[in-house]
Symmetry: C2
Subunit: 466 residues, 2 copies
């Protein structure tokens, strides 16, 4: 019988059975104890090591449960037969610190993604979350409905009705952790082989997502009213992705005429659907908000996607999708096992935030804040009127400037950069194979202070003066 001379220590804090277990485990892994080899009986080993028999038994049990040894009745313990063991690769790799891609930082960055967080009612949010954690805890920590809590969906339905003209029941709403997740879910609903039409200039993130679905994406000719519907027929797509209230990047509003054309297209065939991304409809600075396309959809053909990440805060990972009845039925029958991606705590907080009017108040506040910024940047642009045509104003958080003097977007960006200002090229938005060199730049202002906007516009005047 192979003698197991185990150095048992009482210093290293490890209990005796653990030391025995680890020693034998090591011996087996290193092949020093051969497969099929008999181990000493617990009694013998206990006596040999001068420990309690139960200690050895504990060690053997662990080895048994991990499959290193087997016990054969009336015979004893044997090392299991197993393939040459793959040892754990011990060297812990030094964690390569996150490669935050080296993009130069500008003094003023007119990013279209910037938003203002200064006025967010943290106090209120904090108070609500505090209360949320007080009352009915257990419920709060249980897993909720896959579609999201009914209370929140009811609140969202009311909100959609009053502010976006959308008529839907809470049952049609699916709450999810961001648009990306909802689109992943939508892929499972619409299926794999979808021919989808997107405006030639569109929201790049949505394009990338559909591309990651391996969807057959058709860039659709786009005039100032948006997607040219005749093209959809020609391209034989079955779904389209649009932003009718405020198209990104053009900032155009799809007029009612084009909307009805688009709806008509969808009504004509069973399999046709329209995906409406209503991403920043909350912010309109002139007259009333533009109604959503879904509001005019009387045949359940529009899949409506909205988010609170833009209107409240990017960190609030809560978006929602309104499914047409037919798709809802499919979802309920085939996909409702996907569990919710939003914690009930967050859902409850958001629900109260909207239900108790804080959201509406915050939106009104932000409309004023963004309008002030909007007016500033528009005023700045007016002074550039000889050289540029302004478009995309009156809504959203960005505007477009098109050079009349034949300056290319590249030149405009470079001249601005020379003055430590970052502006963005319209061509980034193109999903067509060849990206046309445009004469248009995009200026976002959501995240910039009024001073910075003023200063930025003054600098741009200089930068683009020649």
């Amino acid at each position: 019988m192979n003698e197991l001379t185990i150095e048992l220590s009482t210093e290293n804090g490890k209990c005796l059975y653990e030391q025995i277990y680890e020693y034998i485990r090591k011996e087996i892994r290193e092949g020093k104890l051969l497969q099929g080899e008999k181990l000493p009986s617990t009694r013998a080993l206990a006596a040999f090591l001068q420990v309690a028999r139960s200690t050895v038994e504990l060690a053997y049990e662990q080895l048994l449960s991990e499959g290193y040894i087997e016990s054969i009745p009336y015979k004893g313990y044997f090392v299991c037969r197993m393939e040459e063991l793959y040892h754990i690769n011990m060297e812990t790799e030094e964690s390569e610190s996150e490669k935050s891609e080296q993009k130069t930082v500008y003094e003023i960055d007119f990013s279209p993604n910037g938003i203002e967080m200064e006025y967010f009612p943290f106090g209120t949010w904090k108070r609500i979350s505090k209360n949320t954690l007080i009352d009915d805890r257990s419920e709060m920590f249980a897993l909720g409905s896959p579609q999201g809590d009914l209370e929140l969906r009811t609140t969202i339905a009311k909100y959609l009705y009053s502010s976006r003209g959308v008529y839907c029941s809470p049952e049609q709403i699916i709450v999810g952790a961001g648009n990306d997740f909802l689109l992943l879910l939508l892929e499972k609903i619409l299926g794999r082989h979808v021919k989808i039409g997107m405006e030639a200039k569109t929201y790049k993130r949505a394009y990338r997502i559909f591309d990651s679905f391996a969807y057959d994406i058709h860039p659709i000719l786009q005039d100032r009213d948006g997607m040219v519907v005749e093209e959809l027929e020609r391209e034989e797509v079955s779904a389209v992705y649009v932003m009718p209230s405020h198209q990104y990047p053009t900032g155009n509003v799809m007029p009612i005429g084009r909307r009805t054309q688009l709806l008509k297209w969808a009504y004509e065939k069973e399999e046709r659907y329209i995906i409406e991304d209503d991403y920043d409809s909350e912010f309109r600075y002139k007259g009333k908000p533009i109604p959503s396309l879904k509001a005019s959809d009387k045949m359940e053909k529009v899949i409506y996607i909205g988010t609170f990440s833009k209107a409240i805060a990017p960190a609030i990972r809560i978006s929602f999708m309104v499914l047409p009845k037919k798709l809802l039925k499919f979802y309920k029958e085939n996909l409702s096992f996907y569990s919710s991606t939003v914690s009930r705590i967050d859902q409850t907080i958001l629900n109260e935030f909207i239900r108790d009017g804080y959201f509406e108040r915050y939106l009104n506040k932000m409309r004023k804040v963004y309008k002030a910024k909007h007016d500033l940047i528009v005023a700045g642009c007016r002074e550039l009127e000889e050289q540029f045509v302004l478009s995309g104003e009156n809504a959203g958080l960005h505007i477009l400037l098109k050079s009349k003097t034949g300056k290319t977007e590249k030149e405009l960006i470079e001249c601005a950069a020379a003055y430590d200002i970052k502006v963005y090229g319209l061509s980034d938005g193109y999903i067509t194979k060849e990206r046309p060199e445009t004469n248009t730049v995009i200026l976002g202002y959501g995240g910039l202070s009024e001073e910075k906007i003023k200063k930025g516009m003054d600098k741009l005047k200089k930068a683009w003066s020649v």
Copy 2:
């Protein structure tokens, strides 16, 4: 010129321009104002209605921006040409109240999904979240890294190293809102056409998810050590899904011998990967925890998925995935634009909860709590030894009872139901075409109080006595 006799009211709270806008909009939608028809000039209409000209201009501007009318320089305003308008379907559907499928409620339900929330340190959680909302707000409400905050990923990496023997850098970790989302993301990484092997008896939710990917799922013959590796060769699968530390539903541990076989299989071909779902490894009541399979993976072939929804609370929608380097590279190059599904607030709270040792303490507490329940149910089973074989004990939150007397699972479930007790059939776990009628029932105890477990086992003794 068509006269617009608009009833302007000062009662209904609507401002004048809105009333004019809505009246004209209605006239157009109902075809009373014909397409191409000229509208009165703003001056004329203002005079006619005896309102300020600016009021009419505001109304016209809104109609312009929504595309109902167009302005032709030196000519005036005209109703746009558009297809017959689809009117908004006005009747708001009565919301059919959620159909919570009518499943009978039992006095005692041995659900395998139940978990204990009684001992969750709500106070601590509340305190941390409170503090989280105090310091650096704006950062907290900004959108974080797509993979999750580096702090949290670092904490998770440390935790995996110390408690699961997994060596990975934070860069390899992706944090997501639940396993379902992470699997949706994994689909985009592994691609569409994956032949995946799953044990014949497996976790149904995972099966449904892979099925919703339209993956080619091959049920793999399963012995008490788990998946039979030779079968994988025969079925020519490229990926497998396993739960080595505690297989669901069998409750078996995959022994080291089978693990090395499985790893060897994966090492042999470039495209082969193992998905390890380590769903309830935290709970082991005998000896030390079983190490993860990932811990023995020295060739970056194991995709490790873990969750905090089970160990902390289902409502904490935070799971994580450890990607092998090759897949990580693909993810970073092609999919990192998918934005994070977990709010930074929740990530920060969880990070502190783990980092400051509360998680470890809570786990230790819960191991004791669950062990007490485990021991109670096992004791109860001992009294049924003549009729049943017990298996799946010593870990997790459920055990299995196999009838020796030839009682079918159906009979066992029905007898139990007669005593107002709910137990579950093993056959639910089968993914093979024909579901064999088994003699085995599953009893989960995580969510039941010790009294209920005692009472339940006593009742089952009676129920199954004949």
